[in-house]
């Protein structure tokens, strides 16, 4: 794929996978891709600036978590689920479950904030 490279299975390291998941935007992208076969950048960007999002896709690709294919000028992204499962059995599932726990915690926090304003 012109200009877009993906690491070979044996070159995917835990260190790089973890590095990719140190950012909430990248965690969100992985979580969303887990629910669909593939998605375009414009869908995943959800209105965020293309310039900063490009960096996130590159980090995710370099880690081995996602792959990107192009058709014309459109990029389609997908989780490298089968390959990750082969490389690190059980890891992706455990990470996705952990993301759900974190997201659930954040939803609860937003529903009942610890600090509240006094109603006028």
């Amino acid at each position: 794929m012109k200009g877009i490279s993906h690491p070979a299975l044996d070159d995917i390291s835990l260190e790089n996978v973890c590095q990719a998941l140190t950012d909430p935007v990248r965690i969100e992208i992985v979580g969303r891709l887990a629910k669909m076969s593939e998605a375009t950048c414009s869908v995943l960007n959800a209105g965020r600036p293309k310039s900063s999002m490009s960096h996130h896709y590159r980090v995710l690709r370099d880690s081995g978590l996602i792959c990107t294919r192009t058709r014309g000028t459109t990029h389609f992204n997908a989780l490298r689920r089968a390959e990750l499962d082969a490389r690190f059995p059980g890891l992706l599932d455990a990470l996705l479950k952990a993301m759900a726990v974190d997201a659930d915690g954040e939803a609860k926090y937003e529903a009942s904030p610890r600090s509240s304003t006094i109603p006028i």
Copy 2:
């Protein structure tokens, strides 16, 4: 514990756990602690400078991966295995398995390096 704090279970995030595992020294510490109930810093440091190692223990503690107790001037470190299992079921086991895969790959690589020197 004087001067040593640990995050509460609900404050352990996937992002911080991943951040802690972006460094090979910290990955090694977690991998070693998985094989023992607890270990002193001097055992885990394995001759590396105490000054740089202190940072690694702090990052690991702040992520929720390890806890540290003191007795006199000695620090004893342990994985927060039960708590992590409660917070993110299956994650620690999957991470430890992934570490073993990576370590196995490195061992194979060292046994048969891709580049070799020409014997004189």
